[in-house]
Symmetry: C2
Subunit: 306 residues, 2 copies
C-alpha cells in the first residue's frame, strides 16, 4: 500500500522486475528466466485487484521470452528500457485519456471524484484527474468535489492536496455527502479511475465507487470511468470474477494512529467494489471514449489498437 493507484502499481511492478532481475548473478539465460518467473509470482501476490500489475509483469516477461538469444546482461538492460518506456507511456496515455475525456465536460462543470486517480496514482497527470486537468488546459472552468474516501482517506490526503497544488477549486466532503450534493443538482458528472475492467464493462475500483454510480444513475448524473486500456481484462467476462482485496481492519478502527472504534469490534474492510456496467455512462480510455454495449465496443476498440 506504499504504492497505490492501478497505473502506478503497474509501472512499479515493472521496476520491481528490473530489481528482481538484478538479483540474478549467473549468466544462464534459462535459469535467469526461471528466476524472473519467480519474481513475477511474488509481485503478483501483492495486490490482487489491480489488473495493471499483471499486465505490466506479463509485458516485462515477454521482453525476456523474446530475447532468449541475448545474454543475461543484455536482457537486464532491455528490461530496464522497457520499464522506462512504460513510465513514459503512462503520462502519454493519461494525456490521451484527458484529451478524449475533457470533451465530455462543459465549461463550468462540477466534477465529483472518489479516491485518487491523479498524478499520485500514476506516473503523472492522472486518469480521472487527467480529464479535469485537460479540461482546464483548454480553458474550461472546472471545479471538483472530492470524497474523502474512507478508510484510507486518499481523497482527503491526496486528491484534495493535488488539486489545491494546481489551483483547481476543490471542496472536500465525506463519502456520505456525495448523494446530498447530487440530489441538490450541484454535481455535473462523476469521474473515477479503475483497478480492473471486465470484458462486459463491469468496473472494479475503490470501495464506495458502486455507491456513487447508483446515486449518479438515480440523479441522472453521468458516471464516467477514466482508465488506460491496460486496465481492461478481457479474460474475465464480468465483474463477479474480479477478486476483491480484503485489507487490515486497523484501516477502519484507527485514523492517523488514533483509535476511533471500540476494542474488539468486528470489522469488514473490502478495499474495492464492482460497479455493474449498466451504471457506467462511458469509459474514457487512451484510445477513445467507449459507450455501451461495452462487450462489443470494448472488444472493437482492442481489435482496432492491436
Amino acid at each position: 500500500m506504499i504504492v497505490r493507484g492501478a497505473p502506478a502499481i503497474g509501472v512499479s511492478a515493472a521496476y520491481g522486475m528490473v530489481l528482481g532481475a538484478a538479483e540474478y548473478k549467473g549468466d544462464d539465460v534459462e535459469g535467469f528466466i526461471k528466476h524472473l518467473e519467480k519474481v513475477s509470482e511474488l509481485l503478483k501476490g501483492t495486490r490482487p485487484t489491480a489488473v495493471n500489475l499483471f499486465w505490466a509483469i506479463e509485458r516485462m516477461l515477454k521482453v525476456a521470452y523474446n530475447n532468449r538469444q541475448a545474454s543475461v546482461e543484455d536482457i537486464k538492460d532491455l528490461l530496464l528500457k522497457e520499464a522506462d518506456r512504460m513510465a513514459q507511456e503512462d503520462v502519454e496515455t493519461n494525456r490521451r485519456i484527458g484529451y478524449f475525456g475533457q470533451q465530455l465536460l462543459q465549461d463550468g462543470a462540477v466534477v465529483l471524484t472518489h479516491c485518487n486517480a491523479g498524478a499520485l496514482a500514476t506516473v503523472g497527470y492522472g486518469t480521472a484527474l487527467g480529464v479535469i486537468r485537460a479540461a482546464r488546459e483548454v480553458g474550461k472552468n472546472i471545479s471538483v468535489y472530492a470524497d474523502e474516501t474512507r478508510p484510507y482517506l486518499q481523497g482527503a490526503r491526496l486528491t484534495a492536496w493535488e488539486l489545491m497544488e494546481e489551483g483547481i477549486p476543490v471542496t472536500l466532503i465525506t463519502d456520505s455527502m456525495a448523494g446530498y450534493f447530487m440530489k441538490k443538482g450541484i454535481i455535473s458528472a462523476v469521474i473515477v479511475g479503475a483497478d480492473r475492467i471486465a470484458a462486459n464493462g463491469d468496473v472494479a475500483n475503490k470501495i464506495g465507487t458502486y455507491t456513487l454510480a447508483v446515486l449518479a444513475k438515480e440523479n441522472r448524473v453521468p458516471f464516467y470511468v477514466a482508465a488506460p486500456l491496460s486496465t481492461l481484462d478481457l479474460s474475465i467476462e464480468s465483474g463477479d470474477d474480479i477478486p476483491i482485496e480484503e485489507r487490515d481492519e486497523r484501516e477502519v478502527t484507527h485514523i492517523g494512529g488514533v483509535r476511533i472504534a471500540p476494542y474488539g469490534v468486528k470489522v469488514a474492510n473490502p478495499a474495492f467494489d464492482v460497479t455493474p456496467n449498466q451504471y457506467v455512462t462511458a469509459i474514457i480510455t487512451d484510445a477513445g471514449v467507449v459507450y455501451p454495449p461495452y462487450k462489443q465496443n470494448l472488444q472493437k476498440l482492442v481489435n482496432k489498437v492491436d
Copy 2:
C-alpha cells in the same frame, strides 16, 4: 453537540426549560412566562433540524400557559414534573416502536443501521436499535452492520459500543461499504432513526441516510425509519422545507484531534440530508407502522392518537 439524537435532544430541552425557569427569582407569573419564552427561543436556536426540540419546548410552554392562575413556584414544580414525565415516556415510546418494528424482522435478519439511534440517542432503549433489541427479546437472532457515520463517527463510537455491550453481533464498516454489502445480498433491512419527518413522509436524518435509502431501493432491501410521533412535523409539507444544519469543518478535516486533510482546504459539512418518501418502505412509530401513501396515513395516525 454534547447532547445528540433527536429524542434525547427533546428531553434535554425540557430539562433546559426547568433550569431556565429556576433562574427567575420574582413571583410575577406574566413576567415568569415572558422569561420562559426567552429561554425557549434560546434553546430553539441550538439544533435547527431535530424537530423534537421544538416539540418538547412547546409542550413545556403549554404547562406554563395552562397554569397562569398558579404561583411561579407551583409552575416551576409542574415544569419539572412534565420534564420527568417526558423522560419516562421516551423509554415507553421506544419500547412501543420496538414492539411494532420487530414484527418486520425475520429470525436471522441482518440489519444495517446508520449513526446512533439507540439508547445513547434517547433516554433509553433507542428507536432503530430499540427495534433490534425488541426482536432479540422475542428470541429472534438478529445481527447488525453499523456504518461508522462520518464525519462525527457516531456509528463507530456509539452504535458499535452499545451493541457490543449488549452482546448483539455487530460488524463495523465505513459508510462507503454499505452498498457493497447490500449488493452482495447480505443485508435484510436498513433501519435508521429520524430528526424530522415532514407531512408527506420525507425524512431528515443524519447525512448519508439518503444514500442508504437509494442503495436499498436499488437492491430491493426494505428501508425502515423508526421514530416517535414527536418527530413528525405536520406543519411542513415536504422535506424541502426542513432546515439543514451546517456544522464545523473541523469535523471533516480532523479525526480525534489528528488533521487528515491539507491546510486551507475548502470543506462542506451538512449534518443531515432528506430522504424523499418514495424510498421509505415504512415508518415505525410508537402508534404503529405507517406505509405509503404517507400524507394520508401519517395524518390518519395522528388523528387517531389525538
